[in-house]
């Protein structure tokens, strides 16, 4: 409601009542001045006209050239009053070009205020809240009713109350058993006991969290350009848990804003800092880094100010705030808290943009410790085994052993230990016939190119001095390959020897990348092929990470492959400990055991080629431990966290809000109009900021918080503009109540559950919402609370209710967002080609029926449910949702497969509940609305059902279609005609105004 209109309204009441109470500046006058005058005569120095400010008494009373704008008690002597009433276009205030105009009522109020002494008040929200006389919600609400000519309503009936409480606290309707239990409880305190059951439910956290996630602008994608997936759902789950654990609001605040700066922060405190990583970020090529660092800090400072202080600080990005006493310097000082962010300007379109934290489930550390234990046990076995090996260094023999030709076999019956073998085109097989050596060969076959290869997993193979490679090939006589190839990987696949036709278009001809080693081997016999290592570009000492056997246009068998090289045992690192030790680079050496005995054991276990076979089983055991550990590790999600750079960035006032126009330098600080910041160190940091926000002397935080919770339960805040507590925001309808709640909240240790309990157990909350039309026309928004709250359910509640009532709901909590039913072409037409969220891949089974808080949020193409039912797309913080009423909502609730399938599951339950139509309708009403149906309702719905039964009896094939919409299969035993008719009836009931409203 327009604060101006409220003011006028109040004054009208004042005029009509017998005794006019004195005007109050904040309530009656400030809204008029703020709307019409402050833009030019307010706080913003640059815009100020005629050196006059009207937002302070000093400014307004000051004489210039012998006249003052306002002379207390004397409108005629006040220049402002004269100009307001002027008829000259160049003189009248506000000037015509401002498009502002004072109406007669506003003028009358101003005149009266001057006559009464033109007293000023500091803006109410910047004064610390104090408890005034009176106690409890109902006291303050009741005392405001008479002056508004309103009377309180009686208490709502129990079914209405339990649904209101259950929906409000858990976002789910009550189960029939819960309703029955409540109806049966005739002892005093039944209502409170019912409330306490819902407060204790784990679904309390989910319902509370979704409101805060709007504030936190939580989404599952980055939000800009590619709009790729972002993994930070642990933050969402943290919010749910925090409400369920009833984390005090001060702690809730400090952990989100500065959890990383707490001493030895826990994992959960780090996850909490994800709050300020939830903003949209870009990874768009071409972006200017400086600009985005600037924007993120602006966004985070604005969101923090908005969420906790109810201040629309971003106005001061470009200039001093026109209405609120927040200068550009104030804003950039706040921004400075966030400007040294460690996260990058461009998110890299990555799932995880650093800094992130691993979100370890309970028991994770124990599992990792077990891996470490197993690892050290195997390592000890290796050490022990190495200690038993007798080794003589050839370099220390006298005489030294001669230089010898040595054969190193790289492939025999299998690829080297640990190799991750892959194939192209088709799977390739190891066979036992034909075989050139050992027990197996590998057959490689393809109509085009085909290969078997590995490039990771095994130890590197070292090419010896004067290396000459050999391999055995049997070209299949029935289907001979046209080309045979061997390839080596040394980081890249850049070494190839080929025999036969040069068909495969890889590598540059005339280099080692594509070396023609000879003719195609004759078919039907084993041929030993040989080539110099140098001819494929492999020098002595080259490290081979993998190799491949390749054919084209046929089949060939490959067997025993290796390299023959000349070796000087006393100079060969794979034979001589001394030679190896001397060749170690410093970095390598530093990582190894210091003393020689340990170093030798390492050598024998890992390097010496005489013992590698001995250690192979233990190596395999070690590899397995590491693989399992890696699997567990990669299955553990991470979450975005907020950190500062080690060296902070200097922050400046950015002239006109332009990222490349730095002005005055600023340090982290809070707005001057509010209490001063207490710094723990030399410079303020986010922890100081967070503590300042929840300090008892901060006039805003507790008020803003209790008002938001009030809005959540009553539909509208005591300050209607719950996002704006500044001078442009609405005045509180019940200022004393707001302050009483704020002070009580802080006194009770910022106990959020306690506050919710206080709200819902008030008589005010328990009033019935049904009222005669005079009540609705007297107070359409129910700001004076003469009725119980009645408003449309939110998007999530509507879907969750349908799923709950139908019994389809899956109440599993937390984890990665899921993709339920969604019409085709929501993501695809808007998605960028390279985006990993371009194609919507619907989930199955439980994914279709999880609570809506767990639906994956793609911010540039939100789910139509969110779009249609006013859920924000989470691009920016949202403190208060709209509640619209549109035809698209009607279409969705009637026709969406999610809702129609739920209606069918609901219908199946209705059929099972009772064979009689009236009893079925009674059941359906109790399940959906918590109340029974009256006779007229039973009659109307019975008549409808009868009509549908007749219609489907005539067209049973239509009935069949109607009950097969959606993944859920109908029970075979069910009467299809009945189910189809009752499905539409269930659809009707779920579409009742009463069903989509909290009554």
């Amino acid at each position: 409601m327009n604060s101006k209109v409220i003011a006028v309204h109040l004054s009208l009441c004042a005029f009509t009542s017998a005794v006019a109470e004195p005007l109050q500046f904040n309530r009656d006058i400030r809204p008029i001045l703020s709307e019409n005058c402050f833009a030019c005569h307010g706080f913003d120095k640059k815009e100020r006209k005629a050196k006059l400010r009207l937002d302070t008494a000093e400014g307004a009373y000051a004489e210039q050239d012998g006249v003052a704008a306002i002379v207390p008690g004397d409108p005629r002597a006040s220049l402002a009053w004269e100009l307001i009433n002027s008829t000259a276009p160049d003189e009248v205030m506000p000037p015509p070009k401002s498009h502002k105009k004072l109406d007669d009522d506003e003028k009358a109020l101003l005149k009266r205020w001057i006559e009464e002494g033109a007293a000023y008040q500091k803006h109410w929200a910047f004064e610390r809240p104090v408890k005034s006389a009176g106690d409890g919600i109902d006291h303050f609400v009741r005392s405001a009713l008479p002056s508004n000519h309103l009377k309180p309503s009686q208490e709502a009936d129990r079914p209405t109350l339990i649904r209101r409480v259950s929906m409000g606290l858990t976002g789910l309707p009550p189960a029939i058993a819960e309703v029955d239990a409540y109806l049966a409880d005739q002892q005093p305190g039944a209502y409170e006991r019912m409330v306490d059951r819902y407060l204790a439910s784990q679904h309390f956290g989910e319902e509370m969290a979704r409101h805060w996630l709007d504030v936190a602008r939580y989404g599952d994608t980055h939000g800009m350009h590619l709009d790729n997936e972002r993994q930070t759902f642990a933050f969402r789950d943290w919010v749910v848990e925090s409400f369920n654990n009833n984390l005090p609001f001060y702690q809730f605040t400090v952990e989100q804003l500065a959890g990383d700066l707490l001493p030895e922060p826990t994992q959960s405190q780090l996850v909490a800092t994800g709050f300020n990583r939830c903003n949209v970020t870009t990874g768009e090529g071409g972006s200017i880094a400086k600009e985005w660092i600037f924007r993120y800090a602006v966004e985070r400072a604005s969101t923090t100010a908005q969420a906790w202080l109810g201040l629309t600080a971003e106005c001061a990005v470009c200039h001093d705030h026109k209405y609120d006493p927040i200068t550009a310097k104030d804003f950039y000082s706040l921004y400075a808290f966030f400007y040294s962010n460690a996260d990058p300007a461009l998110d890299g379109n990555a799932l995880l943009t650093k800094p992130v934290v691993k979100v370890k489930p309970p028991g994770h550390d124990a599992k990792m410790a077990a891996f470490a234990e197993r690892e050290s046990a195997v390592k000890k076995e290796i050490e022990d085994l190495a200690a038993t090996i007798k080794y003589e260094d050839p370099a220390e023999k006298d005489p030294k052993p001669p230089v010898a030709e040595t054969e190193h076999v790289w492939f025999e019956d299998s690829f080297p230990q640990g190799a991750k073998v892959g194939t192209s085109v088709t799977p390739q097989e190891f066979v036992s016939e034909p075989v050139a050596s050992g027990t197996k060969s590998v057959k490689v076959k393809g109509r085009g190119m085909a290969q078997i290869y590995y490039e990771e997993g095994a130890k590197e193979l070292v090419v010896p001095v004067s290396g000459k490679f050999f391999l055995h090939v049997y070209n299949d006589p029935k289907d001979p390959a046209e080309e045979v190839m061997i390839q080596f990987n040394t980081g890249a696949w850049a070494h190839r020897a080929i025999w036969g036709k040069d068909i495969i278009q890889w590598g540059k001809a005339g280099t080692g990348e594509r070396f023609p080693a000879g003719d195609l081997p004759a078919a039907g016999q084993w041929v030993k092929l040989e080539f110099d290592a140098a001819s494929v570009g492999l020098a002595a000492g080259a490290k081979v990470k993998g190799f491949a056997f390749t054919v084209h246009g046929g089949a060939a068998y490959f067997d025993k492959m290796g390299v023959i090289g000349s070796t000087d045992p006393s100079a060969d690192p794979s034979q001589s400990f001394a030679a190896w030790k001397n060749a170690l680079a410093k970095k390598e050496r530093d990582a190894l055991p210091k003393e020689d005995a340990g170093l030798l054991r390492h050598y024998l276990a890992k390097v010496y080629n005489g013992t590698q076979e001995t250690f192979a089983p233990l190596d395999a055991k070690l590899a397995k431990v590491n693989e399992e550990r890696k699997a567990l590790d990669s299955a553990t999600p991470s979450s975005f966290i907020f950190r500062d750079l080690a060296k902070p960035r200097d922050a400046f006032v950015m002239t006109r809000g332009e990222y490349d126009s730095p002005g005055e330098k600023v340090v982290p600080n809070t707005p001057a109009v509010l209490p001063p910041l207490k710094k723990a160190g030399e410079h303020g940091n986010r922890l100081d900021l967070a503590r300042w926000i929840v300090a008892p002397e901060n006039p805003l935080t507790a008020r803003v918080a209790v008002n938001r919770f009030w809005q959540q339960m009553f539909g509208v805040g005591l300050v209607e503009s719950s996002h704006d507590f500044g001078t442009q925001g609405s005045m509180p309808t019940h200022p004393e109540l707001l302050d009483w709640l704020a002070v009580t909240f802080v006194e009770n240790g910022w106990d959020m559950k306690g506050l919710m309990r206080l709200l819902v157990t008030s008589d005010t909350f328990r009033q019935q919402s049904a009222a005669p039309s005079e009540s609705w026309s007297a107070d359409p928004g129910n700001q004076w609370l003469s009725r119980g709250p009645r408003f449309r359910l939110d998007a999530e509640q509507i879907r969750d209710q349908a799923l709950f009532v139908s019994g389809l709901i899956k109440l599993q909590m937390g984890g990665k967002g899921v993709n339920p039913y969604q019409p085709p072409n929501i993501w695809e037409p808007v998605g960028f080609g390279g985006s990993n969220t371009r194609v919507y891949r619907r989930g199955n089974g439980a994914d279709l029926y999880r609570r809506t808080i767990y639906t994956f949020i793609k911010r540039t193409a939100p789910h139509p449910l969110m779009d249609n039912f006013d859920m924000p797309n989470r691009e920016q913080s949202c403190i208060r949702r709209d509640r619209t009423n549109t035809p698209l909502q009607a279409l969705q609730l009637m026709n969406d497969v999610q809702h129609y399938e739920a209606a069918r599951a609901f219908a199946a339950q209705i059929l099972a509940a009772d064979p009689n139509t009236p009893a079925r309708i009674e059941f359906a009403y109790r399940r959906a609305l918590a109340r029974g149906a009256d006779a007229e309702e039973v009659a109307m719905i019975s008549q409808f059902v009868d009509g549908q039964l007749a219609r489907y009896r005539e067209a049973p094939e239509e009935a069949k279609k109607a009950i097969n919409f959606g993944d859920l299969k109908p029970l075979e035993s069910v009467d299809e005609i009945e189910l189809a008719a009752w499905t539409l009836a269930a659809n009707l009931i779920l579409n009742l105004d009463e069903a989509v409203m909290r009554n």
Partner: protein
Amino acid sequence: MNPLFEQQLLQTRRQFFGDTGIRLGGIALASLLASQDRSRAGSVVHPSLSDLPHFAGKAKSIIYLHMNGGPSQLDTWDYKPDLHKQFDKALPKDFLGDRITTMTSGQGTFPVAPSKYTFTQHGQSGRRVSELLPHTAKIVDDIAVVKSVYTNAINHDPACTFVMTGSEVPGKPSMGSWVSYGLGAETNDLPAFVSLVPNFPKGSNAQALYSRMWGSGFLPGKYSGVVLRPGADPVLYLDNPPGVSPADRRAMLDTLGKLNQRGFAKFGDPDIQTRISQYEMAYRMQSSVPELTDLSQESKAIKNLYGERVETPGSFTRSALLARRLVERGVRMVQILHRGWDSHGNLPSELGNQCLDTDQACAALVTDLKQRGMLEDTLVIWGGEFGRTVYCQGKLTRERYGRDHHPRNFCMWLAGGGIKGGVEIGETDEFSYNPVSDKVHINEINATILHCLGINHEQFAYRYQGLDQRLTGVEPMNVIKKILA
């Protein structure tokens, strides 16, 4: 004025705008009551604000053809014959400035790439048009070309947000939302604001669209554009479930309506009446939308005018014809968002296909509207979110070149309702790098659009977060008088 009267007004406002906190500067209270009477009568589903239009505007509706990705002004409208002499020469440093995307800022050189296309003169105005737009060339006397539009953003996401919401920061309402909020619509059977998202040529470099381009931002959600989708289901959830006939739905709605009326008698909440009427609107849309998309009554001549792809669902051509049909039925704003105009690399091939996909239908739309006498009160706008650089991105030959983003000047055209045909304003320098006359900010285009609708853009405000928010932002913006009829 008495308190009861005052309270009735409040009630009206609440019903009227939904449950939201609406603060609009300077609405005359009496006229609010008038709009209440209109909505009560049930004759107007989308009423206008009572103080709108501010004056008699020439345009009643808007068709906005948005070429998403940034069409090259140098290869379409901004004729620079002398650039051939500059082929492959470096763009002088004085021109370059420092706000260059990092896609080309790392390039050592900025060689000039003249357009490979021939520009010939057309119409009585003798307007030069690129050979890529042979059909649009035939309507040059009906359109006003602005060659000097500029924007603040250099990347797609912020620039698209800017052109459609008047700000590069997400969260503001789209133009269509503003317009349907202000003016409502003249139909009871269709939404006030409709978006079409057609297919686009394969192989083009397609940038994303963002739902905020038709979203309602901080305005109530009912002002969001309704996306008419290309496939079988043009409005989401329009079709009844299988096995549910229109008669079944009618029967269900009859019972639902009666039960909801009883609910109204019980609760007294006026919102229940709104819900009843929205369910009825939904039912009407179930027939009005299929009627809209059924082109069987369109003559062969009209189909030929638009081109053969008019029969292809999801084509730009079909979307253009649908746009006319929507406006004909009283829809306030139609937006066609055509993707694929981001020609960084092989511009001639990509841009050629983009023009081929859209040129005939754009011209046909204007011609069709004119033939029916609808062009007088329908404002058509064509443009992208920015232009493209004169210097080449990537490999440069006479035949093949690419162009980076260029926010400093680009071309848009406007036609119909309130716009003077055959006009061209805004010269650019010899490199089409900066405007030298009649510089037009993108929000001045928006101010002009509002002006054509009879809206003073400075007075058309919505109070949100302490500011009188406007489509055209807080900086002063002027209506482009030179192109007004």
